[in-house]
């Protein structure tokens, strides 16, 4: 098996010409594994600022596939274009962040290339000339280490887990514009329906996540968590109990049948810590739990706990955060 070949980092962008900051994690990890880390950007609209940003994070080259066919995203078009380029260039690995687009497109790509995919990976190591990926399984109760029969090693990376590359000024990357046949899509885009914005960060991308469980007692009380979210720049999610009770829309559910998050700081209020919830937030770096019940299972994995009524703690904590951050 050859060790030549680059590690490709498939770019997730904001659909306005700039790569998302999760790419600093993907490119950082590709470089840590020995690289060279090369960005592959499928877009209808790239930007010079975008190239500079990718280079700053450490991409040594940008493969730009710029074509109106890539927006709006459709997995068949992405997979076909990526497969054609990969067949021509033989990268040793193809990485992308776990997003709605890439979890689908990279799985499809792996099938097209006839190789394995490790989805939602949280660590990588080289063992000899083989890449081994670590991924949570069984509701995050166990870790599975997996390896590939052949290259390219296709993997998606869980956001907020890998250390992001520091952005360095003054770096440049060669931009290659390979000719790739753009596959005709069978599916047609109809419309995009935006959620009513809460003005708070997106759950999967947020560095701080506040979660409200059954202890919130009703939908009307989430406003106190949103107020705290505005102060500390946090997303606000919910447990399954709260979603099933109809207090919050399903898109806010954290857990096995909801979203998987891995923020720097997780604050759970009135969350008991059912296995199904832990599956979605166990890889958070720092976990804070506030619950009236000292026996709540969430205290077993919490770094800091307060056994008290959340309706007393939340306003006091919001004020304390405000004092800290206004300093």
């Amino acid at each position: 098996m050859t060790m030549a070949g680059a590690i490709w980092c498939v770019v997730e962008d904001d659909r306005k010409g700039m790569p998302k900051k999760v790419m600093a994690e993907v490119i950082g990890e590709a470089a840590r594994l020995g690289g060279p880390a090369e960005a592959v950007w499928l877009t209808d609209k790239a930007s010079d600022d975008g190239f500079t940003q990718l280079a700053g994070w450490g991409a040594t080259k940008v493969w730009l596939l710029e074509n109106a066919a890539f927006a709006p995203y459709r997995s068949e078009v992405w997979a076909a274009a990526l497969a054609e380029l990969a067949t021509a260039q033989s990268p040793k690995a193809i990485f992308g962040p776990v997003t709605s687009r890439q979890r689908e497109a990279l799985a499809r790509l792996a099938a097209r290339l006839g190789v394995g995919i490790s989805a939602d990976s949280v660590a990588f190591t080289m063992q000899g000339d083989k890449l081994v990926a670590t991924r949570p399984v069984y509701a995050g109760k166990l870790l599975s280490k997996v390896t590939w029969a052949k290259q390219p090693w296709v993997a998606t990376l869980r956001p907020n887990v890998f250390r992001p590359a520091e952005s360095q000024a003054g770096k440049t990357a060669a931009v290659e514009r390979p000719g790739v046949k753009s596959a005709s899509a069978q599916m047609k885009f109809v419309e995009r329906r935006e959620e009513v914005s809460t003005g708070l960060p997106e759950l999967a991308e947020a560095e701080i996540v506040i979660s409200g469980g059954r202890g919130m007692k009703g939908p009307e009380n989430y406003v106190i968590l949103e107020n705290m979210g505005k102060v500390i720049g946090a997303a606000v999610g919910a447990s399954r109990a709260a979603v099933d009770a109809g207090w919050r829309p399903h898109r806010f559910q954290i857990g096995q049948t909801g979203r998987t998050i891995s923020p720097k700081l997780y604050l759970g209020f009135g969350v008991s810590g059912a296995i199904q919830h832990l599956a979605g937030m166990r890889t958070s770096k720092v976990i804070v739990a506030v619950n009236k019940d000292p026996e709540a299972p969430i205290f077993k994995i919490a770094d800091y706990g307060i056994v008290a009524d959340l309706f007393e703690v939340v306003p006091a904590l919001t004020e304390e955060f405000k004092r800290l951050l206004e300093k």
Binding site: V115, S144, V286
Partner: protein
């Protein structure tokens, strides 16, 4: 309209899982097995499409060992018309691509107009089979569907994918593959009549050779299963709310550097 639903049998979320000797799989002793929850959304949606159209057939397919028949029986009890069990010891270490190829081979025989999967199985949480199946078949696909509607002459399906910040709606010509996200529907419970009726419905067994599939080794294989590294012990902050909150914020800033 013929609809095929691909399901998987998985350990119940609440079941304790232990690593078997050999270190590559779980010890299956004492495990409660269920139909993966997202696959129940898929079954429910297929049944609703059939009921709405007033005719059609829903076929449940599962790749798994002997015990997986129970999962298929549950789908038949919910209302699926018949089932196919992909049961071959050669698939014991099947990865997502092997699974997708086996499902694709069945689909080529059955020729359904629509295939519905769950967004992911909750054992290995790979979430790759939907897209890989579509790729092997050369069909369009849309994952994480929150709503769908099949047009009157069953030529296309309009499906809304859950994406970051909203929904993206697509028209897919049939045949196509979609995967169900939670929120698509509320799965029904089997009725007593359904459970009794399920015993009489057909479950066809198929092996790799029946489908003309080679016994290829998987492209992705498990090297080891490991227990989670223990989290550093946490602490409960004592004192009245005012004191505890001040101490928490201090600790988050100075010890954890999390804010």
């Amino acid at each position: 309209m013929k609809i095929l639903v691909a399901i998987k049998q998985v350990p119940d979320t609440a079941t304790q899982v232990k690593i078997a000797s050999g270190g590559k799989a779980i010890d299956t002793a004492g495990i409660t097995w269920i139909v993966s929850p997202y696959d129940e959304f898929a079954v429910e949606e297929a049944l609703r499409i059939k009921e709405k159209r007033g005719q059609g057939e829903v076929v449940a397919v599962c790749l798994g060992p002997d015990r997986a028949k129970e999962a298929l029986r549950s789908c038949l009890a919910m209302g699926c018309d018949r089932a196919i069990h992909l049961n071959d010891p050669g698939w014991a270490e099947a990865d997502t691509l092997t699974t997708a190829r086996a499902l694709a081979a069945v689909i080529k025989q059955e020729q359904p107009q629509l295939v519905i999967c769950g967004r992911q199985a909750i054992d290995d949480d790979m979430g790759a089979v939907t897209a890989q199946l579509a790729e092997v078949l050369g069909w369009p696909c849309a994952a994480w569907i929150m709503e769908e509607s099949v047009d009157a002459d069953a030529k296309s399906i309009r499906a809304a994918r859950q994406v970051e910040g909203g929904l993206e709606v697509f028209d897919l010509p049939l045949p196509a593959v979609i995967s169900a996200q939670k929120g698509l529907n509320e799965p029904r419970y089997p009725t007593l009549k359904g459970i009794m009726g399920a015993k009489k419905k057909e479950i066809k067994d198929l092996k790799a050779s029946d489908l003309g599939l080679p016994a290829d080794p998987p492209q992705l294989s498990v090297v080891a299963l490991e227990a989670l590294p223990p989290r550093p012990p946490g602490r409960v902050i004592p004192g009245d709310v005012g004191t505890a909150v001040k101490e928490l914020v201090r600790a988050l800033r100075e010890e954890a550097k999390a804010i």
